[in-house]
């Protein structure tokens, strides 16, 4: 039942064999060595396993690896090469995270939001992050940081 698949992971081509029942999250973590997507529930509830699949945020715990064949996967490892993205920089400056377990998912959800909508309102940010549970922060420091990204960007123009 094994099948060879090829996907682009963080802009690098990766070819490997998977079983039909292999979940993309597990394959990323166990076979491809990418540890930023976290296992928080394995049921699509928490958002800790969020990745970008063809540029859209998805729950990698509810994606079959075999169906990622031919697609592009981006994780936080691929976002920042040497330097932080504006989203990460803002989250850093605002001390947004405490335990940081939800951080990779939040970073990607915010990245997708700002890609689609560079000037989100507070409500837009809340909607975009509504699928990423955080138990530490009460979200306030996260939302504030993301709004700050666009304000910084507009100031620098």
């Amino acid at each position: 039942m094994r099948k060879q698949i090829t996907l682009r992971l963080n802009d690098e081509p990766r070819t490997l064999e998977v079983q039909p029942n292999d979940i993309l999250l597990d394959v990323l973590r166990e076979k491809l060595g990418v540890k930023s997507p976290k296992i928080g529930c394995e049921r699509g509830d928490c958002g800790a396993c969020t990745i970008l699949l063809d540029g859209k945020t998805v729950r990698s715990c509810l994606i079959l690896a075999i169906e990622a064949d031919g697609h592009e996967v981006m994780t936080v490892e691929g976002l920042s090469r040497g330097s932080l993205t504006p989203v990460q920089q803002a989250l850093l400056e605002h001390n947004s995270f405490q335990c940081g377990f939800c951080a990779p998912g939040v970073v990607l959800a915010a990245t997708e939001l700002l890609g689609d909508n560079p000037h989100p309102t507070e409500q837009d940010v809340k909607e975009a992050l509504s699928g990423n549970l955080c138990r530490c922060t009460g979200y306030q420091s996260i939302i504030e940081a993301i709004i700050d990204v666009q304000e910084k960007a507009s100031k620098s123009l």
Binding site: D26, R29, E30, K35, S36, K38, I39, G40, C41, E42, R43, D45, C46, A48, T75, V76, E77, S80, L84, Q88, L91, L92, E93, H94, N95, S96, F97, Q98, C99, G100, F101, C102, A103, P104, V107, T121, E122, V125, K126, E127, L129, S130, G131, N132, L133, C134, R135, C136, T137, G138, Y139, Q140, S141, I143, E144, A145, I147, D148, E151
Partner: protein, 891 residues
């Protein structure tokens, strides 16, 4: 747009504001500099790090997703472990057949309780857990057998191939059942009334979940009386009784518990685990594995959230250790989310009865508080939890006569333990709502009734808790003014409401979990000749920022950049003992230990340089990475040069610091729970909107003022306050660990979908004020912030709901169905004019119409033991209990 949160440092009239344009190092701008701080050695210094909104030392790893959690660890030849858990709530294990599992491909080892027969438990008095159940299961989710296999799938298949035969036992599913089960002092002759199955032969022991405890399924009963409550009630103008219920809820850390065990070539065991208490895990492993502790190393990995849920030693930690020893290969286990729900150790469901006598001006003359805790299947921290439901009532408002009776029962459900606020949010909710009702009955302002009767700073309470700095009055003023409470209270339109509540919490438990006279926290500091500083401490960062606090304090004393410090924590081989990240103890206790170690290191440097450069030590100071002569600032050397001079003079530079809390004032039996080096204080105002058609409560905003003593880092402090408010909001409105009533108490919500926790969309706006009045016991005056700010949130919301729709919800969580039901009942009654509008209040209510309410009507009858009687300090008490003979003689 988010209105910026405000943190106001009242003690120093200093305002820090969250801003959109944060400084390089954080998100808070100080508009005025911090004052000079008087150091312990009598010198003074301008604070350069403490009080500044620095980034967390590990913030970069978090935003890049590079923090290494336990499940991220992969070792060569690592095996994967799965644990078979009981699917029945209470049964004897007749037989376990592992033969099929053992024979399956990829399976390397299968173990049962026989391999780990030694019991353990977090408290010395409750050694009632086994890594794998021996002969009996006590709840659904109890571990029965474990498999190690080459991959997770093989382990899973093998786990499912293990066959277990059970002989069912009667099921105890509630406080009432437990109190009435055969064998208890409150035994009911008709066992069928408990709802469990009838057993042939009527074996009373069969009903008993544990063979220890006070009696039957009663785990622990406590009774304490300070002063004379009956006498106090006689002096009261009003006596009021209320009954409340606080449903259990769970921590829900985003990270599922995980552990990896490895045995090295010399037979030494190393366990990496997402635990808040590596030291206690170390002790428990040594006991259960029957190995010298010196051959075991426990490394706590950064916790992906803890909140108290990773404070017990857990079966999976023992299991992977044993499997690693047996197989000689590394073994990893990561619990599923469902297993995390069964591990639990969360908030106890507590039924409470409170009777208070008050004078017309609201002064309390006496309080009698009873709590009934549903403990679940094991002891865990339960004895402490029981005392905590009665301990901190006295540290906010003056209670001259106080009586507490508490009982914890065993039930066939996942065990409860410590969750953020450990045992105190439940009574605080009851107390603050109760007080609101008293205020209304006495026609007093809810602000005045609280503020006029506060406990004095630097005083002893009736139960001998030593209150230090006490900023509650300032807290109340802040939130009342900022929220415009006085104009809004009882004046908002129907459906909108505002409510106030206060609280207090420990800055670390005054006594250790196992009795000893050693320090609670130790810090070791190593300075190398190239200027590097390494701090080693047993404390573990669970997201609260304890690694950062260590770095900030040491950087402050040594005058260096906190980001240049190597922080090495929570490794039992390398770091001195710290008891763990619980009871809000870390900033105060490890902070004090770090301060001591740093001051000793500083003194060594200064002494050596003083000798070498011939400058009096009193003139030397460390700042900005240099050591300089304060009277001649151009004369300075780098920090590294100073270390070199010191190393040349004294040899390798290393210092230690440690912290032991001051002895507690109470000497009576039960005095061990409640004392703390310092108490934090909180006041919160909640503004809510209640939709009377759906019963949905939306919290619009919470103003909260927290008496922190001193914020080591105001940015991280804000994060703790906001996180606490968030968790309190979830508990108040939606979170509950409830169980299906009809089918063997299977957990109702074993998922993050069904266990509702607030998302971004439910989180309210939070306005935070920090009140700073440095406490002499805290490092730089700091007190706790991780737990206290949760406490006032549920009662403030409940009081606001009443202000909005005039029904009392005396049960948490305040879900739409409860609100709707209370409103409907009131409206039905109002239509029926023939009946009185009394909503069936729960006790003595003199002459005032009781509002309609949703909540428990009564508490069970219990034969309470004779209380431990203690004379309050103002009656000449010594903190010791009055001897029984003396009590009888008086009677």
């Amino acid at each position: 747009m988010i209105p910026s949160a405000v943190a106001e440092i009242a003690g120093f009239c200093m305002q820090v504001t969250r801003t959109r344009d944060p400084p390089k190092s954080g998100r808070i701008t100080a508009t005025k500099p911090y004052p000079v701080h008087l150091m312990k050695n009598g010198s003074s210094k301008h604070l350069e790090v403490v009080g500044k909104p620095f980034r967390k030392v590990d913030a970069s790893a978090k935003v890049t997703g590079q923090t290494k959690f336990a499940d991220d660890i992969v070792l060569p030849r690592m095996l994967y472990c799965k644990i078979l858990r009981s699917h029945v709530p209470h049964a004897l294990i007749r037989k376990i057949d592992t033969s099929k599992a053992v024979a399956m491909p990829g399976v390397v080892a299968v173990i049962t309780g026989k391999s780990l027969p030694i019991p353990y438990g977090i408290l010395p008095v409750s050694q009632d857990e086994h890594a794998l159940c021996l002969d009996k299961v006590r709840m659904i989710g109890d571990p029965v057998a474990a498999v190690a296999a080459i991959d997770e799938d093989a382990a899973f298949e093998a786990m499912n191939a293990i066959e277990v035969e059970y002989d069912p036992l009667p099921v105890i599913s509630s406080i009432q059942d437990a109190l009435r089960s055969p064998g208890s002092a409150h035994m009911d002759d008709n066992p069928s009334r408990t709802g469990g199955p009838q057993l042939a032969g009527e074996n009373k022991e069969a009903w008993r979940i544990h063979g220890y405890g006070d009696h039957g399924n009663v785990h622990k009963m406590v009774a304490l009386e300070f002063g004379d409550v009956e006498e106090g009630f006689k002096q009261a103008d009003l006596i009021r009784e209320d009954v409340f219920f606080y449903e259990g809820n769970t921590h829900l850390p985003m990270e599922q518990h995980a552990a990896v065990a490895q045995v090295d070539g010399d037979g030494k065991l190393c366990l990496w685990s997402s635990t808040q208490t590596p030291h206690y895990v170390h002790r428990a492993l040594a006991k259960v594995l029957e190995m010298p502790a010196s051959r075991i190393r426990v490394i706590a990995t950064p916790n992906g959230g803890g909140f108290g849920g990773k404070s017990d030693p857990f079966p999976h930690e023992m299991i992977v250790s044993k499997l690693a020893l047996l197989t000689g290969r590394p073994v990893k286990v990561t619990l599923t989310r469902e297993e995390v729900f069964y591990c639990h150790r969360g908030r106890h469901p507590v039924l409470m009865w409170v009777k208070t006598g008050a004078k017309k001006d609201g002064a309390i003359t006496a309080m009698h508080f009873r709590s009934f805790l549903d403990g679940g299947a094991y002891g865990s921290y339960g004895v402490a939890s029981t005392y905590y439901t009665g301990a901190l009532q006295t540290v906010t408002y003056k209670i001259p006569n106080y009586k507490f009776e508490g009982v914890r029962v065993f039930t066939n459900k996942p065990p409860c333990g410590p969750k953020r606020g450990h045992g105190t949010p439940q009574p605080r909710y009851a107390l603050e709502v109760h007080l609101d009702k008293i205020a209304e009955q006495l026609r007093l302002d809810p602000v005045a009734i609280r503020k006029n009767h506060l406990v004095e700073p630097y005083s002893l309470t009736s139960n001998y808790l030593r209150v230090g700095s006490m900023g509650l009055a300032a807290c109340i003023d802040k939130v009342v003014t900022a929220s415009d409470f006085k104009n809004k209270f009882r004046n908002l339109p129907y459906g909108k409401g505002i409510g106030l509540a206060c609280a207090s919490y420990l800055s670390g438990a005054g006594l250790p979990i196992y009795w000893n006279h050693m320090p609670h926290s130790g810090v070791q500091l190593r300075l190398d000749r190239q200027g590097g500083v390494c701090v080693m401490c047993g404390s573990i960062d669970i997201g609260q920022g304890s690694d950062s606090v260590l770095a900030y304090i040491i950087a402050e004393v040594l005058g260096i950049d906190p980001f240049d410090i190597r922080v090495l924590t929570a490794d039992t081989d390398l770091t001195p003992v710290d008891l763990g990240s619980y009871s809000s103890r870390v900033t105060l206790m490890t902070g004090n230990a770090a301060l001591e170690a740093a001051e000793r290191a500083r003194d060594l440097l200064i002494r050596a340089v003083s000798e070498k450069m011939n400058i009096p030590a009193t003139r030397l100071s460390l700042s900005g990475g240099r050591l300089f002569d304060v009277e001649n600032p151009e004369t300075s050397i780098s920090f590294a040069e100073a270390v070199q001079i010191a190393e040349a003079r004294f040899g390798t530079i290393g210092t230690v610091g440690s912290y032991t809390p001051p002895p507690s004032a109470g000497k009576y039996k039960g005095a061990g729970v409640g004392p703390s080096p310092a108490y934090s204080y909180d006041a919160a105002v909640a503004e809510v909107e209640v939709d009377p058609r759906t019963g949905i409560v939306r919290v619009e905003r919470i103003w909260i003022a927290h008496d922190i003593g001193r914020a080591i880092n105001p940015a991280l402090t804000l994060g703790q306050v906001e996180g606490s408010v968030y968790m309190g909001l979830g508990e108040a409105l939606m979170e509950e660990m409830s169980y299906r009533t009809n089918r063997n108490v299977v957990h109702k919500f074993p998922s993050l979908l069904e266990y509702k926790s607030p998302t971004t969309l439910e989180m309210c706006d939070v306005k935070t004020f920090l009140i700073e009045d440095p406490d002499p016991n805290g490092p730089f005056g700091a007190k706790e912030v991780g737990q206290g700010p949760l406490l006032p949130v549920p009662p403030a919301i409940a009081n606001a709901v009443y202000d909005a729709v005039q029904v009392r919800i005396d049960e948490v969580p305040i879900t739409p169905d409860k609100v709707l039901s209370a409103i409907q009942k009131r409206d039905e009654k109002q239509e029926d004019e023939g009946e009185s509008a009394n909503g069936g209040g729960t006790g003595i209510t003199r002459g005032v119409e009781e509002p309609h309410r949703y909540g428990p009507k009564s508490v069970p009858e219990v034969d309470w033991p004779e209380p431990v009687r203690v004379k309050p300090p103002w009656d000449g008490g010594t903190g010791k209990e009055i001897l029984r003979e003396a009590v009888h003689a008086r009677e």
